[in-house]
């Protein structure tokens, strides 16, 4: 079966405030993401990046403010029956979130199977295709417990791509991965950007990922978007918060690279 590629939808975040009890995590976030764009949301731990992406994906409801995807408010979109949704949203989670009792193929085809949108033959063919796309061909019958952290991330990406999403969210897609695997995942996301005209929002604290995949980056600090622009503009930012993040990220990145070289040297 020929699958219709996702076409990309725009995202509009309008003055979003989000609180947990007395703690205000997001304090008036405004953001526009164009259809087909790949935006990296950067920021240190605890700045509310993951909360923002969860709000966009409809997994949490903002305390105030609105988020629109493809011209629809997120709650309106979420309330539509699956077969009436005008576009599809997928998400890759920090811990991969593969269902442990299902095989790789069952995980990838779960949405299609549950909504009975495809025949067994079509689902198998789609699974083969997306597994090849993430360089995990032949792992259809493995259980998530048999996969390494990097492989799980690839399968999670394959599961997200299998439904031809128009909007794809990533919540820390390289968390807990070493620099080599981080770069590999970054290259896969960049390949998705090249091959599919979909909108991608990548939440990360990893500058390597931002460098590889982003059309544009947005820096989250003090609950707001502190800085927006291209990756190069971001690197040249005079903003003290951004500079401090960049300094810390550079230290960590160079330390990671040194560690990796040590490991390679020892292994070799």
């Amino acid at each position: 079966m020929k699958r219709t590629p996702g076409k990309g939808v725009d995202v509009k975040v309008d003055n979003v405030i989000h609180e947990y009890g007395d703690l205000r995590v997001l304090d008036g976030v405004n953001m526009d993401i164009a259809a087909g764009e790949t935006l990296c949301v950067l920021g240190g731990s605890g700045t509310g990046k993951s909360v923002l992406v969860r709000l966009m994906a409809g997994l949490e409801v903002p305390t105030s403010g609105e988020i629109q995807i493809g011209g629809m408010l997120v709650p309106e979109y979420a309330a539509l029956p699956p077969d009436e949704k005008p576009f599809l949203v997928s998400m890759v989670f920090q811990h991969s979130a593969l269902l442990g009792s299902l095989t790789v193929e069952e995980n990838i085809t779960l949405r299609m199977r549950e909504h009975r949108t495809h025949s067994e033959k079509d689902m198998h063919s789609i699974c083969e295709q997306v597994l090849d796309e993430v360089e995990m061909g032949g792992s259809n019958n493995k259980l998530p417990g048999e996969l390494s952290g990097g492989m799980k991330k690839r399968v999670a990406l394959a599961r997200a791509l299998a439904v031809n999403p128009d909007l794809l969210f990533y919540d820390e897609p390289t968390a807990e991965l070493d620099p080599v695997l981080t770069e590999q995942i970054g290259l896969l996301i960049a390949r998705v950007r090249r091959d599919r005209p979909i909108t991608q929002v990548v939440v990360t604290h990893d500058m390597v990922i931002a460098d590889i995949v982003a059309d544009r980056v947005a820096m989250l600090g003090d609950g707001r978007i502190a800085e927006e622009g291209s990756y190069r503009e971001f690197l040249a930012s005079p903003d003290p918060g951004t500079r401090s993040f960049l300094e810390a990220a550079r230290v960590l990145t160079s330390r990671d690279q040194a560690d990796n070289k040590d490991k390679t040297g020892k292994d070799g």
Binding site: L59, M91, A97, L98
Partner: protein
Amino acid sequence: MQRCGRTVLNTLSTLGEVLLLLGRSIPGPRSLWRERTRIVEQMIIVGSETLPIASLVAFFIGMVLVVQTADQLVNYSQEVLGSIVGLSMTKELGPVLIAFLVAGRVGSSITAQIGSMAVYDELNALRTMDIDPERYLVTPRIIAMALSLPVLILYADAVGILGGCLAVQLDPAIDISLALFWDNLVSEIAMQDIVVGLVKGVVFGVTIAAVSCAFGLRTRGGTAGVASSTTQSVVWSFVLVIVFDFIIVRMAVLLP
């Protein structure tokens, strides 16, 4: 006083949460048919996790019941031993014993599994795939437990009575024959007694499944949260099983 009020409110809130989950998860005939594969899978899990330990415990409970009761009746007549053992197993011990075993083994595992899924975003992954976690995870478990527990109770009744028969046959302190024990047992157990035990099974099964799933779904805070939810779900299941046991017994006594 404030703490007491908070405890009462928390208790009512948890009960409400379980009831609401139950209400949302009871399927219509169409979705019941759609979930049949997962229901059968869950029934197999309930059976395989409970049967070995249920066999062992029910067998020994049957024997203990005979030996203890015979000792109490030593100055009276042991002829009523069969009816006492049979009625105790079918009406009370079988259902409650199986409910506790299922709550401890299967219920705790349901909470731990769904709790881990909550902590590691697997429930959110289902939501982003437009799959309702309650339909996908809760409904099959509730139906499977409601169907499995009565069968397990019948099995435990049979094994317990078998254990009792063995004790009658082997224990020198028991004066009656196995035939007399059996005749007394069969003549005194009415179909209504067995049905009450089976009704308890359905109610206990639904209760344990709903409580276990509710505590799993509300899990937060990593592995410590999973451990805490699991302990709470087992405690709540035990308490609610005993409360519903009393209610059913009280209602059964009113039956003609």
